[in-house]
Amino acid sequence: MSELSASIEAILFVASEPVTLGRLAKVTGHDESAVTAALHELIQLLADTGLRLTRHHDAYRLVTAPEASELVRDFLTEDARTELSKPALEALAIVAYRGPLTKSKLDEIRGVSSDATLKNLLQRGLVAEHGTAPETGHPTLYAVSQAFLQEFGFGSIDELPPLQETEVL
């Protein structure tokens, strides 16, 4: 492992929040392209270990490997979280693939009001506010969060399975 990758790994290990590319560059004293290259090296080197490097927007964080999920839960003697209801999963999928989007767009796609569902997802931290839409009234936009990636073991939003393409019912 290169020295820069090792330094970045150490910093991400102690960071309490995801660390942006800019901050990594600043604290390591390297430019962003060198840091990006080191991050890519780290992603590859961690691939068969117990840890993973995940990215959300331009912020990075270390988490446990999704393959170790069950063991880690046993170790932490954490109860499995209350499973998400079907409507919650449905709303979450829409926010993940179509976000950032407004609540009314979400309601429109689902054909029902998503008030309670959205509130639940916000409180669980799986969805977060993400600025406002430029249209009249500037409604709040919602997008999936870093915690969403963590909950489902995705390394970044790019790992979401592709949406089905069929155009006929």
């Binding site: 880690v72 999963l89 796609i109 054909g111 489902f152 995705f154 069929t166």
Partner: protein, 228 residues
Amino acid sequence: MAHTVAINEFEGPFGLLLELVERGRLEVSAISVATITSKYLERTHELGDLGAQELGEFLELGCRLLYIKSMALLPRMNEIEQEDELRQLNDELIEYRRFQQASRELARHSGRRTWQRPVTEKLEPSELPMPQLDLSVLATAFELALKRREPARPTATLKRHLSQAQLEERLRRRLREGSIELHLELDRCQDRLEIIVLFTALLELIRTGEVHVSQANQFAPITIELRK
């Protein structure tokens, strides 16, 4: 007695419609819209004791289907309009199905949760720079947090909504004391949702043959009475 289907079986009106379409190997077209509409309304009815909000959402799509269906009964000029409405509904259903499938895919990932590290690496308190903070800022932040939360408090929106079964029972109770007039019953409703639910309750009682509805002439009050 109506067979009750748990609401959780469907993610909502689109979920129900999609299931009917897929199970019946139907397509939402001019030819099948009548079949689909009656099946949809039938199943909505079987959903049983839904809250007024949910029932309203199911009925909204039901009305849309009825509207599209009704176009076929009217003169030819409506054909294009009906096609547009059908295409629109088809597109919405396809879009909806995409996310329904994606949500099932997500559910399969739920055993892949990952964990962050707990906070263990801390600097010694002597090394920790404390932020420049004016404590009045803290008081303001707290007050803002409470205010921001206020609209979410259900005080203003928490109206008690009666379910269809409750409204059926209310109608029966009143009718046992004699006939009633529909417009007076509608006046008692607190909002549009309750009116919708009252209507469906009344339709149910007519369907089961418990009540009889009559009107003396076109603009006379509609009278409801128990069938003897």
